[in-house]
């Protein structure tokens, strides 16, 4: 899909993608000439199509996790192999408030979001995941 500013006859540039939230992605495009902006809001089927292709509109900051799509989409699955004890001991702890925040993420992307936030926290050397850390991770991965 490409977007064209009809007034300027100029291709519009991708600005940002948000979501999925309640099954919808919000993808914003802007015209560099006249500044016009508009958002593409996907319905659940379109959202699913994008997801099934294994792509992120606007590209990815971090490469996909191995088996991210299958593990994020398969409804019933085996518990993953337990992580070695030393890795788990070093994992950052979630505050109650931050956990609540995670609960607002749609269930099917929650494990992925949790992993991404934990990874971010570990990279940054945080021992605790607070709401602020969640916001920082969000800004980093889904600007």
């Amino acid at each position: 899909m490409k977007f064209l500013c009809v007034r300027c006859d100029e291709p519009m540039a991708f600005e940002k993608a948000e979501g999925p939230e309640e099954g919808s992605l919000a993808v914003t495009f802007a015209c560099a000439r006249c500044g016009a902006r508009f958002a593409l809001l996907t319905n659940p089927w379109e959202t699913q199509l994008v997801r099934t292709l294994g792509v992120r509109i606007g590209g990815r900051r971090v490469p996909p996790e191995p088996m991210e799509l299958v593990r994020g989409t398969l409804v019933q699955q085996r518990d993953p192999e337990p992580a070695p004890a030393d890795v788990r001991a070093a994992a950052p702890v979630w505050t109650a408030e931050a956990s609540q925040r995670l609960e607002r993420v749609p269930e099917f992307v929650r494990p992925m979001a949790r992993q991404a936030i934990e990874r971010y926290a570990t990279e940054q050397g945080y021992r605790e995941i607070t709401v602020r850390v969640v916001d920082e991770a969000r800004a980093r991965y889904m600007p």
Binding site: L4, V6, G58, E68, V70, R78, D79, F108
Partner: protein, 307 residues
């Protein structure tokens, strides 16, 4: 919209006149996925997709036993279970209880008793009777996504599993040929195909469709294995007809494929498959084990000759 076509609007740029995608980067990611598949398979010498016309002809059993025979002949072998909804290979190769190990940047295959590497949906499902259900906007829509999700899952297995050095990677396809064109697109020029049939006219008629479709998709089909060709008497070892009036060579020729050989029906094959024991190792001196070894040698010779 013809009525709206005044001079001004017809000058509007069209899709092909716009260079790039404005930063959505979707196409670039699709290309990146393909590149990852290619680099994962860089150390695999032969990728062999095994197809059949109908289900139940013994395709999975043949793949499992060929993998075992080739391993015994000193080849390094991996098997990717492409039958996502009817995964059987993991159980047959004795890794049904293992879990797919997902590391930081790759997934690692399960390793069976003979050292055969196996990746299957079965390594992800909690129980043997768990069906594959994909997330969908509503479960009523789930069937709509099945095809797309299955193609994506197959791609993800190929892109993320690190097989290491292999002489052979077998892909056990689901019955029918629907997956072949997609596979050809992903593995352009890297995959060859073989088919498994049984000596019945109906089986042949259906498998012919798979062969034609595969060739149309540009896959080099190099051979046919005929399974359940004759019945081995467990008492005296004599081989009798299971399907009367058959000629495997003539049949393979009619598909335009070299025959890789025939495998007799032997109940112990099914028994071993159910238990996850390698039949050719448990019953090495049987006609069926010799038949598997012969097919493996022929396949090896054929593919080594094409380099």
């Amino acid at each position: 919209m013809a009525g709206l076509g005044n001079g001004k609007e017809t000058k509007m740029k069209r899709y092909r006149e716009i260079v790039g995608d404005g930063g959505s980067a979707v196409l670039a990611q699709v290309q990146e996925q393909r590149a990852r598949v290619e680099s994962r398979l860089a150390r695999v010498r032969h990728v062999v997709a095994v197809a059949s016309g109908k289900g139940g002809v013994g395709k999975s059993v043949v793949v499992a036993n060929l993998a075992a025979s080739l391993t015994q002949q000193g080849r390094r072998v991996g098997v990717l279970d492409g039958d996502l909804n009817g995964p059987a290979i993991a159980r047959m190769l004795g890794v049904g209880h293992q879990t797919l190990r997902v590391e930081r940047d790759h997934a690692a295959p399960a390793i069976g008793p003979l050292g055969i590497k196996v990746v299957s949906m079965a390594l992800l499902l909690p129980r043997d009777d768990t069906p594959v259900i994909w997330e969908a906007p509503t479960q009523d829509d789930a069937y709509v996504w099945r095809g797309t999700m299955e193609a994506s899952a197959a791609r993800e297995f190929l892109a993320d599993v690190e097989w290491g050095e292999l002489d052979y990677l077998f892909i056990d396809l689901p019955p029918g040929a629907e997956r072949l064109p997609h596979l050809a697109g992903l593995l352009a020029g890297r995959v060859r195909g073989a088919v498994v049939t049984i000596p019945s006219q109906v089986s042949r008629m259906i498998v012919a469709k798979a062969v034609v479709l595969a060739r149309t998709a540009g896959i080099d089909m190099f051979g046919e294995v005929e399974n359940m060709a004759g019945y081995v008497c467990p008492r005296c070892g004599a081989v009798g007809d299971l399907f009367p009036g058959d000629d495997a060579e003539a049949a393979a020729t009619s598909l335009g494929l070299p025959s890789l050989g025939t495998i007799p029906f032997d109940p112990r094959i099914a028994l071993c498959a159910d238990r996850g024991d390698p039949f050719i190792a448990v019953y090495p001196d049987t006609a069926a084990a010799e038949a598997f070894a012969a097919v493996a040698s022929r396949l090896d010779a054929l593919l080594e000759a094409c380099g």
